[in-house]
Structure formats: structure tokens, C-alpha cells
């Protein structure tokens, strides 16, 4: 509990002094994510990710996204759920800063590294361990009546060097909610889940849905871990509120075949299925070829589990608890806690690159001007520029020494932002306050 203490003794925002800013590691419509180091004696140097939520849209206080993330993560304590270490308020601009344990990797970057740099698949042990831990975290969430509603590779974090190396952390709870005894229908929250990972019942306009939407997304992620390519890469129709996403459905049907009322009895009740029957049924796909896409024998445990996650009928789709119990996890290689380093010796260990950091951004989100026409040494130069950027209120913040990585990392970062990141679309708009759909999907 907060002890207001002696009001006179609290003139300076002490919380800002707990962190030494390293740089920016991501951004979205909600705000920015920074990498910082803790300054407290017990944790000195420990890296931390700080997510800054901008002040919400005009006139409605703290954004529901921030509230959801905070309230759920305050209650969640699990190995495979990202840990919210602290929440801070910046009264200068009424923004919130959420401090998380820092995770060096995420599945988006790991998959990209294999696809673009190594041109080789992720080894079976790593795939299985990652999947098992995702399911383990999800099982915890689902048994607490929480649906995540935005699972995708960039939201699945993986810890870097240290005691928790290779441990999966499910992150970004900005769309997550408790669905036990909802006071209003879930569809009131608007479109959920990034389109490529969106379950067919959502694409067909279901008014009510369950934790099975998360399992569909896990299926898509599983396939992506196997093939290094998004499984259903539809083109999003961005017209209006929750438009019918024909292309996305078409990609799914092409791979899995058309759903039928026999296999999915409640299909006939879904609004978009009825309204767009001709469009949907216009093209017939005879030869569903999921196994050829994921290049797994149709009878292998991996394929069996995948196809149970990609079951059309959400009532029949495998649950996280059932999936954890699947044969796949009981066949060699067995899954482990450190997904990045196989237990058996002799296996090649892949070294994934560190998360790109933009060193030119300050805690308030402003970017330092280009540093060209002074004679200062680089370090002084950076400091000087930062000081100019920092408003008076922020002065207690001790600015970090910034010369840790070579300059070309910066270039990497911006090119990633412009090219790589665009490829993964974003979770839909959230229906509140007419949020714009996110343009940059990089979160945490």
C-alpha cells in the first residue's frame, strides 16, 4: 500500500532515479518501450523494459489498454508470464510507466533470424520447448478465466542470458480480459487478435467467443515456428469497423478446406457466414494441404497436435491443458526449460542477436537532434543533447553512458522498423475512443 508519508519530503519524483535509460526498443499507438538499467543497490545494472503509456485520448483518462495490462499482471504470477515489476506515474504529462523484467528475444526476431540470416529451420527441441512453455503460460491464464486475445510471435518473449535463459514469457496484456461472468458481451471490445492469428469464429463475426481463440493463434505460431513463415498471410481489409475479412478466410480455407456444418454445427449461426455465403462458397478448395505446408508427416505427433489446434469448431479445438498432455510432448526430444540451449551435448547452439536499441531517444519520447556539427567527444555530445531535451522536472534522471553499441546498430533498427516490422499486421482497433489501428506492431 502507498504511504503518502510526509508530503513535504516528496518533492522529487524519486522513481525516475531508479533507472538509467539505455534507449528505445519499441513503439506502438499506446506509447514507447525503453530499455533501462536498475540503479537500486540490490538490483544494480539489472535490465528492465519500461513501457510508457501515453496519456489517453482526449477526455477519458488512463487508457483501457493500460488498465487491462496493469490489473491482470498485478495478479498473474507464473514462470511463463511476463513479470510486471513496477508501475510509475509521471504527473508532468499524466503518463504511466510500466517496468517489466527485460526479455532479450521474442519469437518474431527468432523466426526472422532463422529465415533471413541462417536460412535453416529452428531445431526440434527449441520448437517443442517454446510451444510447451507458451501452452503452460496459456493454461495458467485460461484456468484463471483470462483470454489473451493478441497472441502472435512478437508478443511471445524469450529470456536472454542469465538464470532464466531460454524461458518463454507471454507478454502484452493490452487486449487481455477476464471472461468470467462478463457484464457486457465480449464483442463490445471490438476486433481482437492480429488478423493472421485471428480464429475463424472471430473472422465470421461471432458475438461471443472463448479462450479457444488463443489456441487458434498458438496453432498459427506453431506452424510458423516449423516453416518460418506466417501460416495464413491474408491481406487485411481496413475499411470500417470489423469489416468482413474475405482474403484472410480464403487463405485459411485454401489450406484447411471449407468448414462444414457437420464438423462445426454452430457455423450456420455466425453472421458473416450467412451474409457472405456466395463469396465464401464461390471458390472450392478440394485438397487441403496443411501437412505439405508444414512438411510434417500426416501421422506425426507434431502434425496431430497442430491440426487439433487448427480445428474449426472452437468447442472441439484442443485446450491448453489437453495440448500439454499431448503425445508430441512425450516423444523425443523432450521439451526443456531453456528452450534455446538443448540439453543433449553436441547440439549446435544458435546465438540470437540482441534486441536492437535506439540510443537516441529520451524517456519522454523525444529524439535527440542529429549530432554533426560540434567538436565534442561522442559521449559528451550525447549527454549535452539529452540535457537540452530534458525538461526541468526530469533533471533528477541521471543520463546513462550511451556508448555500448556501434553506431550501425541504429541503422539496423530503423530499417527493421521500416521493412521487417511492417510485415506483421496489428491487432485490430479496440473500439474505445476510436483508437486508430496500430501502425507499428512492435510491442515489448
Amino acid at each position: 500500500m502507498v504511504d503518502p508519508g510526509n508530503p513535504r519530503q516528496r518533492a522529487r519524483p524519486a522513481w525516475l532515479q531508479q533507472y538509467e535509460l539505455v534507449g528505445k526498443i519499441g513503439e506502438g499507438t499506446y506509447g514507447l518501450v525503453y530499455l533501462a538499467r536498475r540503479q537500486q543497490p540490490l538490483h544494480r545494472g539489472v535490465r528492465i523494459a519500461i513501457k510508457k503509456f501515453k496519456q489517453s485520448k482526449e477526455g477519458d483518462g488512463v487508457s483501457p489498454t493500460a488498465i487491462r495490462e496493469i490489473m491482470l499482471l498485478r495478479e498473474c504470477i507464473h514462470d511463463n508470464i511476463v513479470k510486471l515489476v513496477n508501475v510509475h506515474i509521471n504527473y508532468v504529462d499524466m503518463s504511466l510507466y510500466l517496468a517489466f523484467d527485460y526479455a532479450e528475444h521474442d519469437l518474431y526476431e527468432i523466426i526472422r533470424h532463422h529465415r533471413e540470416k541462417l536460412s535453416s529451420p529452428i531445431n526440434q527441441y527449441t520448437v517443442k520447448s517454446l510451444l510447451w512453455q507458451i501452452l503452460n503460460g496459456l493454461n495458467y491464464l485460461h484456468s484463471n478465466w483470462i483470454i489473451h486475445r493478441d497472441l502472435k510471435p512478437s508478443n511471445i518473449l524469450v529470456m536472454g542470458d542469465g538464470e532464466e535463459q531460454g524461458v518463454v514469457k507471454i507478454g502484452d496484456f493490452g487486449l487481455a480480459r477476464v471472461h468470467q461472468a462478463p457484464l457486457k458481451p465480449l464483442c463490445d471490445n471490438g476486433v481482437v487478435v492480429t488478423i493472421w492469428y485471428r480464429a475463424p469464429e472471430l473472422l465470421l463475426g461471432a458475438k461471443h467467443y472463448t479462450s479457444a481463440v488463443d489456441m487458434w493463434a498458438v496453432g498459427c505460431i506453431f506452424a510458423e515456428l516449423l516453416t518460418l513463415k506466417p501460416l495464413f498471410q491474408g491481406i487485411e481489409d481496413k475499411n470500417g469497423q470489423n469489416p468482413f475479412q474475405l482474403d484472410q478466410l480464403d487463405k485459411i480455407f485454401k489450406t484447411l478446406g471449407h468448414p462444414t456444418a457437420d464438423r462445426w454445427p454452430t457455423l450456420l449461426n455466425l453472421p458473416f457466414w450467412q451474409a457472405n455465403r456466395n463469396l465464401i462458397q464461390g471458390r472450392k478448395y478440394e485438397n487441403p494441404g496443411l501437412y505439405s505446408i508444414v512438411q510434417q508427416p500426416a501421422k506425426s505427433p507434431a502434425f496431430d497436435l497442430l491440426s487439433k489446434m487448427l480445428e474449426y469448431d472452437p468447442a472441439k479445438r484442443i485446450s491448453a491443458a489437453q495440448a500439454l498432455d499431448h503425445q508430441y510432448f512425450r516423444t523425443e526430444p523432450l521439451p526443456g526449460r531453456n528452450a534455446l540451449v538443448p540439453g543433449s551435448p553436441g547440439e549446435k547452439v544458435v546465438h540470437y542477436p540482441a534486441r536492437p536499441v535506439d540510443y537516441s531517444t529520451d524517456f519522454d519520447g523525444s529524439t535527440a537532434p542529429p549530432q554533426s556539427n560540434t567538436n565534442l567527444a561522442p559521449q559528451q555530445q550525447q549527454r549535452g543533447e539529452h540535457m537540452m531535451q530534458v525538461p526541468a522536472m526530469h533533471q533528477p534522471l541521471h543520463l546513462p553512458a550511451i556508448q555500448r553499441m556501434p553506431q550501425n546498430n541504429m541503422n539496423n533498427f530503423s530499417s527493421v522498423n521500416q521493412q521487417g516490422r511492417r510485415k506483421e499486421p496489428d491487432s485490430g482497433n479496440q473500439n474505445y475512443n476510436n483508437y486508430q489501428p496500430l501502425n507499428k506492431s512492435r510491442r515489448m
Binding site: V2, G59, R74, V92, W145, P182
Partner: protein, 356 residues
């Protein structure tokens, strides 16, 4: 969240009675000290996150000296004012037809907030609105500040102004377990168990539910929700509702629960908790309108000592003009000048002025 036993509610917000008493005493004491030291109790959050008593500076700058120190509220006064505003939360939630859960969450936020603050420091009228607003947000029952403000004729800015302060004081622990849901669980059980006994028995259970909800509504206005878990509150409400006409064999049901859960707790322990809740409900202070009005005046002056001078000025004016004596029961001072809302004379007679 399904698991109460691992929740922040269970770990941080169920207190020992002695802790509760200590906290209420401490916050009252701190406000009293501020009153002596600064001449006012109102606390504002500064842009840098620090706290300040701006009245102090204003008053001193204006007068060159400080007027007499206003009379502080006692711990009992604070209790009465808080309960008054907790009732208001229920009324506002009813006026908006919000589900019970919203009301319960808002009241718990309000109670938790005033564990750490005195009503002399943060205006309960504003905090109450922020608690309702925040509760709607957390329960995914979104109501905009504008809508809420419109419905109760308040400036939406008043609703929003304290949002961060309340969030911080709640330590961002926002998921609250309300006894209403526990009650529904018990009722579901009871309905199943009397299904074979015919329609009358089923109807009895439903009636019991209705009266138990009233019991919980009343319980929410006491200290009990800060002292006992929601499951026990709901059970105590059932027991109270069933006490007179014994529509259901509740003792057998309670015994069944204790046996089934095979917990370490015995039936007599459960009974002890139920009795303690009964005591908490019985001891709860009765809101007397005249008292609330008196305390509210004290509160306004504590927060805003400038009002004292204005009252005197007005009294002098009144004496000079001598048109007619002050009406009995009319407020002895102008409404808070900061308060832009004024809802006419009619209302003021039935409620402490300036509250709505």
C-alpha cells in the same frame, strides 16, 4: 481471475481489525497535524508527483497572517462522512442501473483509498466519482467520464482529476472480489439441493437470494469488506437473511461445505467468522443527516479555511441588511466557490449542501 487465494485482494486488502483502527487513526492524526502546521488539510498532487497544501500559501499571502485554526474532524466524523458517500456510490450506481459488481468494486476502491488518506486531505465527493468511473473501466463496463459527469451533473474533469491519485493509492491492485458472486454460487448450490423438494422450496431459495442481496448492500457500507473475504461475507448475508423465517436449512448446507472442502477450517470457525461479521454490521455507524451536514461544514473549512472569513463577511452583511433572519437549517456559508455545481434550494434541504 478465478483464484481468490492468490489474489492481491486476499493478500493485501483483508486486514486485521487492529490494523484497520491504526490506519484510520494515523490518517486522521496526520490531517490534524497538517491543520495545525499549515492551517488547512487539503492535499494537492503537484506536477512532479509531490504533495502540497496550496491553501496555506494562499491564505497567508492574502492575510499576512493566518486565521484561527479550523476545527478538525474526529475519527468518528470521518467514519460518518465515508459511510454517507458509500451510500452515494450505491445511489449513483443504481441511478445508472449498473450491475452490483460495479458498485461493490467502487465502494471497495473508496474504502481502500481512505485507509491511507483522511477525508480532510482528499475530497470524498470527488474521490467517490473517480472510484465509480474506475470501477466501470476495470469491469469492462465502459462509461466515459463525460457520460458519468452528465448523469450526475458534475464536471467530467472532476471525475478524471483524481484518477492517477486513486490508482496509485490502490497500488494498481484493481481486481476486486465481490460477495455478490459468491452469493450466486451458494444459491446455485442450494437450488440444486432443493430441486427434488418441489417448487415452493425452489421459490424459497430465490426469495432468500433477494433478501441476501439487500444484506450484502448493507454490509458493503460497513468495515466488514476490509476485514473478511467475500465468500464469508456472502455466507453471513445468507445467514442474516435466513435468520427470521428459516426458509432454508443453512446450517446443514454450511456443514456440507466444510466437509466437502475438507479444509483445515471447522464449522465452529466459520460460525465465529459469521458472528464477527454480524458484529461489524451491527456496530456500523448510523448515518444521521443533521450530523453529516455539521461534519460536512467542518470538512469544507478544514480543506478551505478561506471560507471561514467569507462566512463571517456574509454574516455581517446579513446583519446590516436585516431583511430576515437566516432560515433554520440553511447553510451558514456560501457554497464552496470552487464548486461549480449548485442544485437549487429544494435539494439542499434534504442533503448536505454541495454534495450534489
Amino acid at each position: 481471475m478465478a483464484d481468490f487465494s492468490t489474489s492481491t485482494h486476499c493478500h493485501h486488502w483483508i486486514l486485521q481489525r487492529s490494523t484497520l483502527v491504526d490506519k484510520l487513526f494515523t490518517t486522521n492524526q496526520r490531517a490534524q497535524e497538517a491543520l495545525i502546521k499549515y492551517g488547512a488539510t487539503r492535499v494537492d498532487v503537484q506536477p512532479d508527483g509531490s504533495l502540497a497544501y496550496p491553501e496555506n500559501l494562499e491564505v497567508e499571502a492574502a492575510n499576512g497572517k493566518r486565521g484561527p485554526t479550523p476545527e478538525h474532524l474526529t475519527v468518528e466524523d470521518e467514519l460518518m462522512i465515508r459511510k454517507f458517500y458509500e451510500q452515494k456510490i450505491q445511489q449513483v450506481c443504481q441511478a445508472f442501473s449498473f450491475p452490483n459488481k460495479i458498485q461493490a468494486t467502487a465502494i471497495l476502491y473508496f474504502k481502500r483509498f481512505y485507509l491511507n488518506w483522511s477525508v480532510m486531505e482528499h475530497d470524498p465527493k470527488h474521490i467517490m466519482l473517480t472510484c465509480i468511473y474506475l470501477s466501470c473501466k476495470v469491469e469492462e463496463f465502459h462509461v466515459s467520464a463525460e457520460e458519468l459527469g452528465k448523469g450526475i451533473q458534475q464536471d467530467p474533469q472532476v471525475v478524471l482529476k483524481n484518477e492517477m491519485t486513486v490508482l496509485q493509492c490502490l497500488n494498481f491492485e484493481l481486481i476486486v472480489y465481490a460477495p455478490y458472486r459468491s452469493l450466486d454460487g451458494y444459491i446455485f448450490d442450494l437450488e440444486n439441493s432443493v430441486q427434488m423438494m418441489g417448487a415452493v422450496a425452489v421459490k424459497n431459495v430465490q426469495e432468500l437470494r433477494e433478501s441476501a442481496i439487500f444484506e450484502i448492500d448493507a454490509m458493503m457500507l460497513t468495515d466488514a469488506p476490509l476485514l473478511f473475504p467475500p465468500g464469508q461475507l456472502a455466507m453471513a448475508a445468507l445467514r442474516r437473511a435466513n435468520r427470521d423465517d428459516k426458509k432454508v436449512d443453512l446450517e446443514r448446507y454450511m456443514k456440507g461445505i466444510v466437509d466437502r472442502l475438507a479444509t483445515k477450517h471447522t464449522l465452529s470457525e466459520l460460525d465465529t467468522a459469521m458472528d464477527a461479521i454480524d458484529v461489524a454490521v451491527g456496530e456500523s455507524i448510523h448515518v444521521v443527516e443533521a450530523d453529516v451536514r455539521r461534519i460536512d461544514r467542518k470538512l469544507k473549512i478544514c480543506r478551505n479555511p478561506g471560507l471561514q472569513d467569507e462566512t463571517k463577511k456574509r454574516e455581517r452583511k446579513g446583519k446590516q441588511k436585516q431583511k430576515r433572519p437566516l432560515q433554520e437549517g440553511a447553510p451558514p456559508m456560501d457554497p464552496n466557490p470552487m464548486d461549480t455545481t449548485n442544485h437549487g434550494v429544494k435539494r439542499r434541504h434534504s442533503e448536505p449542501e454541495g454534495i450534489f
